[in-house]
Symmetry: C2
Subunit: 224 residues, 2 copies
Amino acid sequence: MEINIRKRVLEANETQADKNRAFFKEQNVFVLNMMSSPGSGKTQLLCKSLTKLMPNIRVGVIVGDICTRNDADRLEVTRAKVTQINTDQFGGDCHLAANHILASAKDIGCEDLDLLIVENIGNLVCPAEFDIGEDARAVVLSVTEGEDKPLKYPLMFRVADVAILNKIDLLPFLDFDAKLVVDNMLQVHPRLPVFEMSAQTGQGLEPWLEWLKIKVFTKQEGEG
Amino acid sequence: MEINIRKRVLEANETQADKNRAFFKEQNVFVLNMMSSPGSGKTQLLCKSLTKLMPNIRVGVIVGDICTRNDADRLEVTRAKVTQINTDQFGGDCHLAANHILASAKDIGCEDLDLLIVENIGNLVCPAEFDIGEDARAVVLSVTEGEDKPLKYPLMFRVADVAILNKIDLLPFLDFDAKLVVDNMLQVHPRLPVFEMSAQTGQGLEPWLEWLKIKVFTKQEGEG
């Protein structure tokens, strides 16, 4: 029964995601869906990235959490346009779905944005199943989470267009094999681009920002 | 629609959880449901705990993962009875539900066990919603995950009977306030017992094991 119910939910989501995609195309904004476990450092990574990207690239952020607007408050310091979705009003949903996104995107106003980032709810499982009409998906994994995670949560790494291995400043204090985790990512998703970095220290941030800028410009030129 | 569907799924789960509870009572085995984000250190914590508990306390483990039997392989070294559930055969479920548990519990054989531990799928959201007929719930949070997690994922901390703050050996290398995270846990769940430890070094393991032993003996005496 549960599998059939899930199928219906995912079909309804896909219909809404197509509508979102049409809206984002019309607005000529590149949409990145950023996903990870709780505590992998998504918000810090975004704070650092936005500071570097703005104002040349005009960024908006939709932040998803079950409760609190902590992350939105942290991101607003960058002067990006930020809006928070709390899913406790939708029964505590464990992911952002397509139907959460469109109203927030309209609310934030996409007409003067180049890039809209959706910081999804901290969960390495469910968000991977829900298309929100995005142009690209990023998964963030931190080096404290263990090398086996790409093999244990393969869907997330399979649907990702880019992976970030965060908190590499902690490597000297951990029994963690960075080459092994990258090999495991590539085993489930061959040729996945992987950026190793520390959002805390800023090490390795630039190649990731270059990748993101190229994606944004390519969409704008393709439709300009 | 999604909320109604969820309600039906949870009701069906509750019915099965009651059946599990009756079975566990009949077998006189204490059942602990252990939950956390991916990579918080559940498996290492269990490996260390089982080595100390056995053979005086006879332990079995049901390990849930979407894919792989890595964790079961690691736990078998302790000589506990271990069985792995992979939810990829159930559509990649993001949590263990009551209907996953009974067959595995019968398969592992509970009649010669004092303690059955269910290592749930790494996810700080969904497993909290699914009663599996357990006697107690433990949540593990590691110090690399950020102090705000109890406020952002309150249901997990609200349903927990005990919390473990793991990886305290990393505190000297992090900008992390251990007092603040405990305060946040107590804000969502007053009087929640919290054990601070490092499963890696063994620091702080004993008080947690004492807590667990008392729980197991109390159930056995109550029903002996």
